[in-house]
Each structure stands twice: as structure tokens, then as C-alpha cells.
Symmetry: C2
């Protein structure tokens, strides 16, 4: 399953071939918000991803080293998902998406607005700090 075929040499196209669908960036968003998530955590997100789609996306993201699986310290039945450095480095993209959305959508949740206010004060500083927090 899921062997990605390269459509061109364009870096944008190759990026989209990995995470350019309606779900992958939401999984990545969840991991940026929470640092680590179980399978069930992803299912609880407001967009209500179907469980088979979630499984397939997690597999593609793991195969492409965007996320990694870790043992749960409290239970063998649970799995922890976390971003790799490659995945963490998608943060600037997510930030720019949020900034664009804030400019053009009328409704933005208050907590996002507050976070974006922080981001805009010092974008590079915010990213540096966030990367450090996500990276173990």
C-alpha cells in the first residue's frame, strides 16, 4: 500500500504528495498542539476523521518520517505518536496557514487568536521556542 509516485521535480508537488490531503496537516496540527497523541486522541479531534483513514495517514506520515511511534510509558495497549524533527519543521507552514486564515475567515477561535498575537510579536523567536518544546 501507499507507495507515493512523484509527479514532478517541483518541491511543492513533492511535499503535497506526502501531506497534501484534507487530513494529514490536521494530524500534524494535533501533534503540534499536544506534543504527543494516542490513536484515540486523533479520533477525538473535532473534524472526526474516520478510523481507517487515520490509520492510513499515520502509516504514510510514519513511512515518510514525519511522525514516529513510541511506547506508552503506562500501558502496552497504547501507542504514542510524536513528530520527528522533519515533522516539527512543518511548523512555519502551519503558522503561515493560521495567519492567512485569520486574515480571511471571519470566525477564528479565541485561543488561536491569542496564540497568533504571540507569534506576530516575534515569529522567529516563537518558532525556535516551539521547536525546542516539541523536540523532546
Amino acid at each position: 500500500m501507499n507507495k507515493i509516485k512523484k509527479r514532478s521535480d517541483c518541491p511543492v508537488s513533492n511535499s503535497l504528495d506526502i501531506w497534501g490531503d484534507k487530513w494529514s496537516l490536521l494530524i500534524i496540527r494535533d501533534l503540534m498542539d499536544a506534543r504527543e497523541c494516542t490513536y484515540g486522541d486523533f479520533l477525538k479531534s473535532p473534524e472526526r476523521i474516520a478510523t481507517n483513514i487515520l490509520a492510513s495517514r499515520l502509516q504514510v506520515l510514519e513511512e515518510n518520517k514525519i511522525i514516529q511511534k513510541l511506547e506508552h510509558p503506562e500501558s502496552k495497549a497504547k501507542v504514542l505518536y510524536r513528530l520527528t524533527r522533519k515533522g516539527i519543521d512543518l511548523l512555519p507552514i502551519l503558522i503561515e496557514i493560521n495567519i492567512w486564515a485569520e486574515k480571511y475567515f471571519s470566525f477564528i477561535p479565541e485561543d488561536r487568536k491569542a496564540l497568533l498575537k504571540e507569534v506576530k510579536k516575534d515569529k522567529a523567536g516563537f518558532i525556535k521556542k516551539a521547536v525546542k518544546e516539541l523536540e523532546n
Copy 2:
């Protein structure tokens, strides 16, 4: 056709509902590279989008005010597509995608590499200049 349903209040999710598929950002990339394109120009791009998919994506992007149609000055048979300000403002996202891709993909075309070198010297300045050029 194409009435988009909101999956949640998340700005990322709402953005993906408009342009979060494997093709839309490539159309937008083409418009950022060329400033204006005809229908045929999009078809010539290396990823070879199918003509029916192109038509459907252009419609969604136009409905969501990301692009606009203009008359071709030389021919009534041709149509010119251009980014709106809302579409032009996706540039920072495209730039961050390119930066991420450059870091993690082994092959990047030379012209992109050169452009990214420019970007990195002064990101805000580059964006300001590019926005001005794209905005008529």
C-alpha cells in the same frame, strides 16, 4: 457542485477545505510563477493535471475568491486567470513549503534553489516585493 462543508472551526481545517488537495496549490504556484495563466498554461505544467479536475479546481478557487478570471487582451477565445489579493497572500505558505522541501528532499531544481537563496536573505522584503508584482 462544490459546496464546501465546514468540518470544524479550526482555521487550518477551513483552509484545507478550500485548497487542501493535491492540485490546488500547484495551480496557485503556477500563478505565482507566471502572474497570469490561461487554461492551457495550467495543462502544460509538469504534473499533468486532468482537464476535468483543472476545471473543477479553478471553479472552487474562483468561488472562494483565491483567483479571478480576466479577459485576454488579444483573443476572446482565451481566458486569463490571476490571483486575487487573497490568493497572493498564500505566498508565505508556498515559501515555507519550499524551504521545508529544500531541507528534506535531496533533489531541488536549480532555479528554485537560487530563488530560495534570495528569499532567505530577507524574507519579509522578498514577500513585499513579490506581492507588489503579483498585484497588478
